[in-house]
């Protein structure tokens, strides 16, 4: 094959370079000052072992502890006081002998002297503060919501214990051997925070109009810290930011609340005849019948409104049991409406699942939004999440409206959005409610069941959950607008300079929303849609979920499983997206065009003549054209060169061409006539993250096609690559990442030929709103 003259010379150079490859050349290659984006993560990830394998699955020697609780708790509504006692059975499944246990006392965060409070930094006070705000801050500073531990005992004998901020060490009277268990008791009380003064993941909301409270109670009892094969004791203090790390266990909980309260809790109610009316029990049974097409009210609006004024004396005890959960939360109020919809956890037609009571509890202030959307959103979440992970294993799934904006616990979550007082609500509030319910119910899967360490790795539950949340949202309606999902939604954050990698401890994150929610979910979305494809990704993601269901995964287990189950080397992706703060900015920096030359001198010279004729006449040449030239005045000055056309085919050229043809076989002669076009497309990596090169080829004939070049094209040079586009049709334009799949932060350099820079958002707005006015002008116009 013969190329045009300029191409031939380049080919010759390439050939020379190839011939010169030698060990010395490889040595020089190693010294190149370029980041190795495809370096494997083996020096970063922990060495695989019998507990956690190199495949990302739990190993044959995997173990985890188990903690069972029997709790009796009393809610004093008037004083907002919780008093409880618990009997704990700690099962030591580890191969280690333990001499002490660590117990978490998160409520100690509600103390002015707590580590979390002392290290929270200063607010902006330079603009001062309103009297109302000042009053709240004074009340907050004076509030003590910490645990008052009144007893740590074994068989009524005191156990030595030491409290360090939000952690309590309980010294064991004798070392706890592997395979044995230890039983002990803790008694405590504390005052629940009023969320209008002290916010948190738990608290109580007061309704002045009817003198009632809604209690939403979390980390309300001393809970065992995790002891595992990775960290030993996970006893990092609770600073208020990073959430929880907890062991699985069985819970038997008796909640004594005011007699007219409705209590919602993790687990299954064991004594409905003691706490529910006959009508309520009948309604519940009806709600749990198969085939219902919506929720059934257990407590109606009229009943809840009437209940608000009761304020009965006396108490009732609600008995709940929850097996294989990592935590227990509950809510209590006489304001609650309550609905229930019994749904099948698996394929209903095949009867391969079990019945789940999807339920919601809310005050009248939540109407009409909550009766319309909440339990539907719960059921929708279970359906979608179960499809992408595993069948929902628990018997209940509950959404409660109260003071907490959005928090998750096993089988129960707290969600804040409410309509206006007049019952109307904006579209934003509507989707805010649906979105937060999907998110918090979705947390049942991550981290309540796939039980990652929230205290250390926020992204492992928030990022994965936000990713599946998006999958559920797009199945809600046609125009659902998710917070995150499209790669373009994360580009501003990724371009910012002051950020930390996703693989940063939760309490050290900068901009946790973007870092732990938005960026990892976007990364997973890009993996699914662009890099791995839906089939490979969905299998691998579900495999990770199944492997680590009811276990404690670590980041490496996720990274390894996604590769193990897909046969896609993703170390480059984890390295770039999770271990660096680089962003994506690929730029189309050069395109060279080559075509096959037939070597026919008429054609070659004709093309050159065409090019010559396309050269614009210079201004000076045009102005000089009318001069009388000397050789016009003296014709004897003319010679051969005045009539010579260097692009005219010569006899010698024609002869050489015929000689060339004579030496070729038929197939080679056919190739010389091929209309094949060759475009060498140069792409530079300006942002640091290597990504697939997605090219839209737009042809002169109006057609177009996509070329998807895998990210591995960057494996030998992560800064600049060239890729070859071979086509029979001349190209008119090339666009890089035309469908915004890669989170490319600067789209202005994604075009060949280059195109003018995109106008800024500000410019676009101004163009659309040329007749703008400021508020003063508006006022004067009135």
């Amino acid at each position: 094959m013969v190329f045009s003259a300029s191409t031939t010379s380049r080919c010759s150079l390439l050939l020379l370079a190839a011939l010169c490859l030698s060990p010395a050349s490889f040595a020089a290659q190693e010294k190149q000052n370029r980041p190795d984006a495809f370096r494997q993560l083996e020096e970063i990830l922990p060495t695989a072992n019998e507990t956690r394998t190199g495949s990302g699955a739990p190993g044959h020697a995997y173990w985890q502890q188990k903690v069972d609780y029997q709790i009796e708790v009393h809610l004093d509504e008037r004083d907002r006081r919780i008093s409880g006692k618990e009997h704990i059975t700690y099962h030591n499944h580890s191969p280690d002998t333990l001499t002490y246990l660590w117990v978490q006392l998160e409520n100690n965060r509600f103390l002015a002297s707590s580590g979390g409070n002392l290290t929270s930094g200063a607010p902006d006070l330079s603009k001062g503060m309103s009297f109302e705000a000042l009053h709240k801050r004074q009340a907050a500073a004076a509030f003590d919501g910490s645990f008052h531990i009144t007893g740590v005992t074994q068989l009524k004998q005191p156990l030595h214990h030491v409290i360090n901020d939000t952690m309590m060490r309980v010294d064991l009277p004798t070392p706890l051997q592997p395979g044995t268990y230890f039983e002990f008791d803790i008694a405590w009380n504390y005052v629940v925070n009023d969320t209008s003064v002290v916010r948190g993941r738990t608290g109580a909301e007061y309704f002045e109009e009817d003198d009632n409270w809604i209690f939403e109670l979390a980390h309300w009892f001393p809970r065992l810290a995790v002891y595992d094969d990775v960290d030993g004791w996970q006893n990092k203090q609770f600073l208020g930011g990073s959430e929880f790390a907890l062991e699985f266990g069985d819970y038997d909980v008796r909640i004594t609340a005011p007699a007219d309260h409705i209590v919602a809790a993790t687990g299954v109610l064991q004594n409905p005849t003691d706490v529910l009316s006959e009508v309520q029990r009948e309604r519940f049974d009806q709600a749990m019948q198969l085939g219902n097409d919506g929720p059934t009210m257990i407590v109606t609006l009229e009943e809840a409104t009437a209940n608000e004024g009761l304020h009965q004396s006396g108490h009732k005890t609600w008995h709940f049991q929850a097996d294989n959960v990592r935590d227990f939360a509950w809510a209590s109020s006489r304001k609650f409406l309550w609905d229930c919809w019994g749904v099948y956890s698996g394929d209903e037609e095949k009867r391969d699942g079990h019945m789940v009571a999807a339920m919601s509890y809310w005050p009248k202030e939540g109407e009409p939004m909550w009766s319309k959307f909440s339990t539907h959103a719960v059921v929708h979440t279970l359906g979608v999440y179960s499809r992408y992970t595993f069948e929902y294993p628990y018997p209940t799934a509950i959404s409660v409206n109260g003071p907490i904006g959005g928090m998750e616990y096993p089988m129960i979550c707290f969600n804040g959005p409410r309509p206006e007082k007049d019952g109307t609500y904006s579209e934003r509030t509507k989707y805010g409610l649906i979105g937060v319910i999907i998110h918090e119910v979705g947390h049942n899967y991550f981290p309540m069941i796939v039980n990652s360490d929230e205290r250390q790795w926020t992204w492992m539950d928030e990022g994965l959950n936000t990713f599946v949340q998006h999958l559920a949202e797009v199945e809600w309606d046609d125009h659902y607008s998710s917070w995150w999902g499209e790669p373009s939604q994360i580009t501003n954050y990724m371009m910012s300079e002051e950020q930390v990698p996703i693989m940063t401890a939760g309490d050290s994150l900068l901009s946790g929303g973007n870092n732990a929610y938005g960026k990892p979910m976007t990364a997973l979305n890009i993996l699914r849609e662009t890099i791995m494809g839906r089939e490979l990704f969905d299998f691998a993601f579900a495999e990770y979920s199944r492997r680590w269901k009811f276990k404690h995964p670590q980041p490496a287990d996720f990274f390894r499983t996604m590769e193990d189950a897909s046969a896609v080397d993703l170390d480059w992706f984890w390295r770039g997206w999770f271990y660096t703060t680089d962003h994506v900015d690929l730029a189309l920096t050069d395109v060279s065009w080559y075509a096959i030359s037939s070597q026919n001198p008429d054609q070659v010279n004709g093309l050159a003549a065409d090019k010559r004729s396309e050269t614009p006449e210079t201004l000076q040449h045009e102005r000089n054209a009318d001069f009388v030239k000397r050789f016009d005045a003296y014709p004897e000055l003319r010679d051969f060169y005045d009539g010579y056309d260097p692009l005219a085919t010569t006899a010698k050229q024609q002869k050489e061409y015929e000689k060339l043809l004579g030496g070729l076989e038929d197939w080679q002669r056919e190739q010389l006539e091929s209309p094949m076009q060759f475009y060498v497309v140069e792409v530079q990596n300006l942002g640091g993250l290597v990504m697939p090169i997605l090219l839209r080829l737009e042809y002169e004939d109006g057609g177009e096609e996509m070329r998807h070049i895998p990210a591995q094209v960057w494996r030998k040079n992560s800064l600049k690559v060239k890729t070859l586009v071979v086509t029979e049709r001349p190209l008119k334009r090339i666009v890089l990442d035309p469908r915004l799949e890669t989170a490319d932060c600067d789209l202005s350099n994604n075009f060949w030929p280059p195109q003018a820079a995109e106008p800024t958002r500000f410019d676009l707005f101004k163009q659309r709103n040329r007749k703008r006015s400021n508020p003063m002008q508006s006022e004067e116009a009135k």
Partner: protein
């Protein structure tokens, strides 16, 4: 707004908040104004306006919402030079969508950012983890990125 100072704060907040603002800035070479496009969550905007005004503010119901936003922005975001006099503020407009709010305004920096400081306290009373990111477009396609949070509320617009 009457105000007092207080040295102690105790607040706990959920992670479950977007808690960011993004500002795109560029000096318009013709007018000399710093053009600013502020992106934030409508919920956050509504909440901070409610806090600032001491009454419930709804973006879609308030009659003079542009005026309230202007007042809030002027109190929480400014550019000043050595004389510490804040650059004058011009309202340009806003776009409120379901998940995103964009607010457009100009600060008269007289064509130069040299020696000028950006004071940014937008929404930082809203959340302990609140972060505001500024992307400043400079000539020759250069970009400068600044990050503000509760501890960092003033920075030079150009390199220190």
């Amino acid at each position: 707004m009457k105000s007092l100072l207080l040295p102690l704060l105790l607040l706990l907040c959920s992670w479950h908040s977007v808690a960011t603002t993004q500002l795109e800035m560029e000096v318009d070479q013709e007018s000399g104004a710093l053009e600013i496009a502020l992106h934030l969550s409508p919920n956050d905007l509504e909440t901070c306006l409610t806090q600032w005004n001491g009454r419930a503010i709804r973006l879609d119901k308030e009659e003079d919402i542009d005026g309230l936003i202007t007042e809030y922005l002027q109190a929480h975001l400014s550019v000043s030079g050595a004389d510490e006099k804040p650059a004058s503020f011009t309202w340009v407009g806003k776009e409120i969508e379901l998940r995103d709010a964009w607010v457009y305004f100009e600060l008269d920096v007289r064509g130069s950012l040299e020696g000028k400081q950006l004071h940014n306290k937008l929404l930082n009373a809203l959340h302990h983890d609140y972060v505001s990111t500024v992307s400043l477009r400079l000539p020759k396609k250069k970009m400068r990125s600044l990050r503000f949070d509760r501890a960092t509320t003033a920075q030079n617009l150009l390199k220190d």
